[in-house]
């Protein structure tokens, strides 16, 4: 079903590239770092968090770096903006949305001396790395909290689009909930947008109206958790800490923390040690950070902390085998005691117990 060969070929290409590229890399005194954002920096979600990472670079290196960004770049018309950064002397360019994959690849081929980093994609080149975060690790923890906290036995999820990353998040959330509450039910609503606060809020209200009392979201605005707060229900922040929008409702938030990675990659360019790599960081590498657990009983808090520690140390994998599909059949276990990375990255099935269907 999934093509391991693509991964294999790309990995091979990357390895060759590293061998070739390593020779020419030299330390630099000053680095120019450019960012391409898919949304406005003020979205307080996805692009905002990437911009926090950019600011972290400025803070870490001061005069030795210069950073720039281009915001609200439409995915269908991004090649020019990326090339514009490449030809204005940027040494390292981060393109921060899946839709920038092909354009980044094209520009990377044209500018072999510029380093590129593409978020959430799977195509690499000698001067093009990829990086993504294992948000599903955090979602397993919030799933467990949800399973414990729900009184109605029904938990909810506002999804943006049915892409693998979101599906994996939903499955992990549900597996977490199921692990502590075997009879729990899950309702999913697709907003069909990453960012329309009013519509996301309506989606959340629809779930709350249908008996959901713990709400998770994979859209970018604070509107869903704010809706939960207004109804006296609880939920989880997404992308950034949303506590100020829902001080009573936010149990914890899964924060996208790109800062450490961006600082490390910039340092690598400064030191001349940058290589084309594929990074998939989670709780252990601080790319995914949980905000303090609040508004919950102490035993739930303790459980959440223990689970977080277990995932961090590698003892626990949310997709540990056996994993069952919706039809009850066991999913072939291609990884080491858990689903393989490719299986998670390309996930397009719901696990057993979710009664909804994935929109196709």
């Amino acid at each position: 079903m999934f093509s391991r060969t693509i991964f294999g070929v790309l990995a091979g290409a990357a390895a060759l590239a590293v061998a070739a590229g390593g020779a020419v890399a030299q330390p630099k005194d000053k680095v120019k770092v450019g960012f391409i954002y898919v949304g406005p920096v003020g979205d307080h979600g996805w692009s905002y968090q990437h911009d926090q990472g950019r600011l972290a670079i400025e803070k870490a290196f001061g005069d030795k770096v210069e950073t720039t960004y281009v915001e609200s770049v439409p995915e269908a018309d991004s090649e020019r903006a990326i090339e514009q950064l490449a030809r204005t002397g940027h040494d390292l360019i981060f393109t921060t949305s899946f839709g920038f994959m092909e354009p980044t690849l094209k520009v990377a081929k044209k500018y072999p001396n510029v380093k590129f980093e593409h978020a959430t994609g799977f195509k690499r080149a000698p001067n093009l790395s990829t990086y993504a975060a294992k948000f599903h690790e955090g979602r397993y923890i919030i799933g467990q909290i949800a399973g414990k906290m729900t009184k109605t036995g029904t938990i909810g999820y506002v999804g943006a689009f049915p892409i693998p990353e979101v599906i994996a998040g939903i499955n992990s959330y549900f597996l977490g909930a199921q692990s502590v509450n075997p009879n729990v039910k899950l309702k999913v609503v697709w907003a069909n947008t990453w960012y329309d606060p009013a519509k996301e809020g309506d989606a959340a209200k629809a779930l709350l109206d249908q008996g959901v009392d713990v709400l998770a979201q994979h859209t970018d605005s604070p509107a869903p958790i704010q809706a939960a707060e207004a109804r006296g229900k609880v939920g989880f922040g997404q992308a950034s800490d949303m506590e100020r929008f829902a001080p009573k409702a936010q149990l914890t938030a899964i924060v996208d923390n790109w800062s450490d990675y961006y600082v490390a990659r910039t340092k690598a360019v400064l030191d001349g040690t940058w290589k084309s790599e594929d990074t998939w960081g989670g709780l252990a590498s601080n790319m995914v950070v949980m905000t303090p657990y609040k508004n919950m009983p102490d035993d739930v808090k303790k459980m959440a902390q223990e689970t977080e520690a277990a995932i961090r140390s590698g003892q626990l994998n949310p997709f540990k085998c056996p994993v069952y599909g919706q039809d009850g059949k066991e999913i072939e276990c291609k990884g080491n005691g858990a689903l393989s990375d490719e299986q998670v990255l390309g996930m397009n099935f719901y696990v057993k117990g979710i009664e909804d269907k994935i929109p196709q």
Binding site: G34, T68, R80, Q84, Q360
Partner: protein, 358 residues
């Protein structure tokens, strides 16, 4: 205080030609003031926005790439607008053209299908856009439903259909379930005009459409008929021109050209189907059509100007850290100034400070 407008008896062609220039200068002055108030140098901004893109071969090329779909769609819209028909759904027709054309690209993917694929795709794109444009036209002529509403609503519907296709049936089975199709075969890819460049043959299509339109509007009965339908619908009726067939014709033309722009962008630029294939070209093209005063040559210039503001806006973000919103506000001011300047050429405006209304 109020304004008095008196039509000018003779409008000199020189004044008409200079009006947009004056509008440009005015809007640059306003923008310069805003930038100065933000504590930046207006002169540096002008450099980055205008001088640099216009003197650098790379950005000149990008200018053409960006202007191509805008010009194609806007020239089509000018047919509608001249006849006082408000097709604001070009974005949907663009998407539908891309869907129709891409269907063939995906159906022939990996086969030995030859050179005919690309021309057939382009034709399908035109057909798809035209058919989709005919829906509001038909609803208007047959049932009297207002075209503004239906054409706009159909934009959202087309986008959702594309979204469904990209995430569902047309998804690349080897793409890790990400919402995008396979990349098109070379036989289904619109090649660049120069081997190394990004300017593809779509630019020639746009030029052709502009020239043909100039001839049609200036030299043919159909052009006269459009003008008459727009300016004096009654007279057009007396002259025996059916409003119904005019409506259908202009919607088919503008839909077809928008559809062509759609498939050109997908096969020439993007190279695959994905949930989003347009940064709002269909809507921006309405601005272009007006900025160009519905005149074919004007539209060509306007498309390049609007493309310049986009490219200049990106440079300004990179080099000067000026926010994107500033660029957008500037585009609005520019269009308002051009429209106002146009009116000032046709009318003499006097301020009357006493007396109020009649």
């Amino acid at each position: 205080m109020r304004f008095e407008l008196t039509p000018r008896a003779n409008v000199s062609p020189v004044a008409r030609a200079l009006a947009p220039v004056a509008a440009f200068i005015t809007s640059f002055l306003i923008a310069g003031l805003v930038i100065w108030l933000m504590g930046r140098s207006p002169i540096a901004a002008f450099e980055v926005y205008v001088t640099q893109p216009l003197t650098d071969p790379w950005s000149l090329q990008e200018l053409i790439v960006k202007a191509t779909p805008l010009a194609l769609i806007a020239i089509g819209l000018s047919y509608c607008f001249r006849a006082n028909l408000w097709n604001i759904g070009a974005e949907g027709q663009y998407v539908m053209g891309a869907i129709f054309g891409s269907w063939l690209a995906l159906a022939t993917h990996g086969t030995e299908a030859g050179f005919w694929v690309l021309p057939a795709m382009l034709c399908l794109g035109i057909i798809g856009g035209a058919l989709y444009g005919l829906i509001p036209a038909f609803l208007k002529t047959r049932f009297g439903v207002n075209e503004i509403l239906t054409s706009l609503m159909l934009v959202y519907v087309a986008q959702l259909i594309l979204d469904y296709l990209a995430r569902g049936p047309w998804r690349d089975p080897k793409g890790f379930n990400f919402p995008q199709s396979v990349t098109f075969d070379p036989a289904a890819t619109l090649p660049p005009i120069l081997e190394t460049g990004r300017v593809h043959y779509g630019a020639l299509f746009a030029l052709t459409a502009i020239l043909v339109t100039a001839i049609i509007l200036g030299r043919t009965l159909f052009g006269y008929r459009l003008k008459l339908t727009g300016d004096a619908p009654r007279a057009a009726q007396f002259a025996g021109f059916s409003a119904r067939s005019t409506t259908l014709a202009v919607f088919a033309i503008s839909g077809g050209l928008a559809g062509l722009a759609g498939i050109v962008e997908v096969s020439g630029q993007i190279g695959q189907i994905q949930p989003s294939i347009s940064p709002g070209y269909g809507f921006t093209a309405i601005t272009v059509a007006f900025l160009g005063r519905l005149n074919p040559i004007g539209i060509l210039v306007a498309a390049l100007v609007v493309a310049l503001t986009f490219i200049g806006g990106e440079s300004a973000q990179i080099l000067l850290r000026l926010p994107l919103d500033l660029t957008q506000a500037f585009q609005g001011i520019l269009l308002l100034c051009v429209l106002a300047a146009d009116a000032l050429v046709s009318y003499r405006v006097r301020f009357v400070t006493r007396g109020g209304g009649k």
